[in-house]
Amino acid sequence: MSPQVNEQELPGIGRRFGMECAEGGSAVVVIHHSGRRDLYVVTPGEEEPDCAVALTDAQARTLGSILSGAYFKPAVVEEMEAVIGALLIDWVTLKEDSPAVGRSIAELEVRPRTNMTVAAIQRGDESIIAPGPDERFEAGDRLVVVGRREDLSGFVRHMVG
C-alpha cells in the first residue's frame, strides 16, 4: 500500500505535502509558487520541526531522484529523460504563455543564454529535425533538448516560463 500523503493549499505561498514516517514523526514538503522547496522533518512528539532546509528546483529534483533510487542508475531516470555521463537529453513542452512562443531560436539566443541546444521540435504530426535559427516556436511544441543536466532548469525558465 502506498503511504498516505496529506496535501494542503497554503494561500499565497504554494502547496504543503505531509507524510507520516516509518518510526513516527513526519516529513513535510512545501512547494512555493516560485519553485523553491522547503523540506521539514518532525520527530514524534515535537510541535515544531527539528530541521528545515530550502532547496532550489534543481536541488529538489536531484534529492528526489536520490530518494527514489534513480540517481545512481542514470539509464532508467524517468521515461523520457536520458543521461549519458554529463550529457542530458530531455523533452520539454511549451505552454500557451511560455516566453519562447512566437519567437525564433536566434531571437531567444538559446545557445549562448542557456547552454542548451534544441535538437528537434515535434509540432503536432510534424517533426522538425535540427531546426534553423529562424525557426519560430509555437504553443504546444515539444522540444528535444540536449545539454548538461545543471543547465536544464535555466533553459526551462528561459523558454517555458
Binding site: N6, Q8, E9, L10, P11, G12, I13, R16, G18, M19, E20, S26, A27, V28, V30, D38, Y40, V42, G45, E46, E47, E48, P49, A52, E96, D97, P99, V101, G102, R103, E107, G161
Partner: protein
C-alpha cells in the same frame, strides 16, 4: 539637477544600509526605511538628504502604486475558496475584532470620524509582506496553524481592497450631500467598469501590454498601472485602488507570471522611497505628543491579536502554542497601515494621524517579529484552561 540626485541616491543608500542592519537582527525592512526618512529628514538634526517630502512625491507615489499593483497581481480568490469556510470565518473574526477595535479606539481619541476610519484600517490590517516573510524565516510553513495565518492574510488583503475603495470618496473634500453622492457614484461606476474589465477583458488588457520581450512588457505594464492609478485619483477613487485593479486585471492575463517576476525589483526600489518619504513627514516632536495613543493602540492590538488567535485556534482545534503563533505572527503592521496614513495626509486630515500611524507601525513592525520568534516560550504564560483538553497540538502530517 545635482542636488536632487544626491538627495535621492542618499535616500536609497541610507534606507538600504539601515535596513540591512535590521535584517541582521531578523527584523523587517519597512520600519528601517521609514527610520532612514526620519533621521535624514528635515525634522531631525544632522544630515538632511531631502528637505521636503514633496520633492519625492512622484517617486513615492510610484512606490505606492507598485505595492498595490503587485498585491492585485498576487490576489488569490481561488486560494481562499479552496481554503473553505473556516479560513474565511477566522479571517472575518480577526478583522471584526481588530478593525472594530481600531474604530472604537479611533473614535475615542476624538480626532474626528474620518480620522477614526483611517485609524481603524491602519490598526486593523496586518502587513502581508511582514507576515509571509516571517513564516518563511521562522521555518514555520510546515506548522498546521500557518495555513490558518495565510488564510487570514488573504481575507485581510481582500478587505483592504474594499476598504480603500470605500474610504477614498469618504476622505475626499466633497461639500454637502449632493457632491458626496456624486463622488461616490463616479467612484462606484469606475470600479464597476474596472471589475468588468477584470472579469471579461483580461485577455484584451494582456494583449495591450503583452510582448514577448521583457523590456517592452515592463515598460507597458508600468504605463498602464500608473495611468489607471492617475485616472482613478482624478475621479476621487484614489490611485491606490486604481493600481490594485490593474493588478487584478493583469493577474488573469497570459502574461501574469512574467509580470509577477518583472515587477518585484522595481516595486522594491520605489516602495523603499515611499517608506522613506513617509519618514520625512514625521517630526519626532509630534510623535512624543501622540505617545499615549500609540501605546494604547499597541496594547489594544496585542490584546485583540491574542484573542483573535485564541478564537481562531479553538475553531480549528489547535493548542496554546499554535494560538500564540497565530496571534503574534499577524501582529506585524507595515505597508497597508502606512498607505492608509498617506491617504489621510493627502486628504488633509488631522496632522496627528500620520505620526501616530508611523510610530505605531514602527513599534509593531519590530515587536511583532521579536514576539513571534519567542511565541513558544510566551505561550506557556497563557492559561491552559482556555484550551480544550483535546487540543493536544503537535505536528500532524
Amino acid at each position: 539637477m545635482g542636488d536632487p540626485l544626491v538627495g535621492l541616491g542618499g535616500a536609497f543608500l541610507a534606507a538600504g544600509l539601515l535596513a540591512r542592519l535590521g535584517r541582521r537582527l531578523g527584523l523587517p525592512t519597512i520600519p528601517f526605511f521609514m527610520a532612514a526618512g526620519i533621521i535624514f529628514g528635515p525634522h531631525t538634526p544632522g544630515i538632511v538628504l531631502v528637505d521636503d517630502a514633496h520633492d519625492l512625491e512622484l517617486l513615492a507615489a510610484l512606490g505606492l502604486i507598485l505595492l498595490l499593483f503587485h498585491l492585485g497581481l498576487e490576489f488569490s480568490l481561488g486560494d481562499l475558496v479552496s481554503g473553505g469556510r473556516r479560513l474565511l470565518a477566522a479571517g472575518t473574526i480577526y478583522l471584526g475584532l481588530n478593525v472594530g477595535g481600531g474604530l472604537v479606539f479611533g473614535l475615542a481619541l476624538g480626532w474626528g470620524t474620518r480620522e477614526a476610519l483611517v485609524i481603524a484600517g491602519a490598526v486593523g490590517i496586518s502587513s502581508s509582506a511582514i507576515v509571509t516573510k516571517l513564516l518563511i524565516e521562522l521555518r514555520r510553513l510546515a506548522n498546521p496553524e500557518s495555513r490558518l495565518i495565510l488564510g487570514i492574510i488573504v481575507v485581510e488583503d481582500i478587505f483592504l481592497a474594499l476598504y480603500l475603495a470605500l474610504l477614498a470618496p469618504v476622505l475626499g473634500q466633497a461639500q454637502g450631500a449632493g457632491e458626496t453622492l456624486a463622488v461616490f457614484g463616479r467612484a462606484f461606476a469606475f470600479l464597476v467598469l474596472l471589475a468588468l474589465v477584470a472579469r471579461y477583458g483580461a485577455r484584451w488588457a494582456g494583449k495591450l501590454v503583452g510582448s514577448g520581450d521583457d523590456e517592452l512588457l515592463t515598460v507597458l505594464f508600468i504605463g498602464l498601472a500608473v495611468l489607471v492609478a492617475g485616472v482613478a485619483e482624478n475621479l476621487g477613487v484614489s490611485d491606490a485602488i486604481g493600481a490594485l485593479m490593474v493588478g487584478l486585471i493583469l493577474a488573469e492575463s497570459p502574461v501574469a507570471a512574467r509580470i509577477q517576476t518583472l515587477v518585484l525589483p522595481i516595486r522594491d526600489a520605489f516602495a523603499a522611497i515611499f517608506f522613506f518619504a513617509f519618514g520625512l513627514t514625521i517630526d519626532p516632536v509630534d510623535v512624543v505628543e501622540v505617545a499615549g495613543p500609540v501605546a494604547g493602540a499597541v496594547a489594544l492590538s496585542l490584546g485583540l491579536n491574542l484573542l483573535a488567535g485564541l478564537i481562531a485556534s479553538r475553531l480549528h482545534g489547535f493548542g496554546r502554542r499554535a494560538s500564540a503563533n497565530v496571534g503574534l505572527t499577524i501582529l506585524g503592521r507595515g505597508e497597508f497601515s502606512l498607505i492608509l496614513a498617506t491617504l489621510a495626509l493627502g486628504a488633509g486630515l488631522d496632522g496627528r494621524v500620520a505620526p501616530f500611524v508611523g510610530a505605531y507601525v514602527m513599534v509593531l513592525a519590530v515587536a511583532g517579529p521579536v514576539l513571534a520568534a519567542q511565541s513558544g516560550r510566551l505561550s506557556r504564560h497563557l492559561p491552559q484552561k482556555l484550551f480544550g483538553p483535546a487540543s493536544q497540538s503537535g505536528l500532524s502530517a
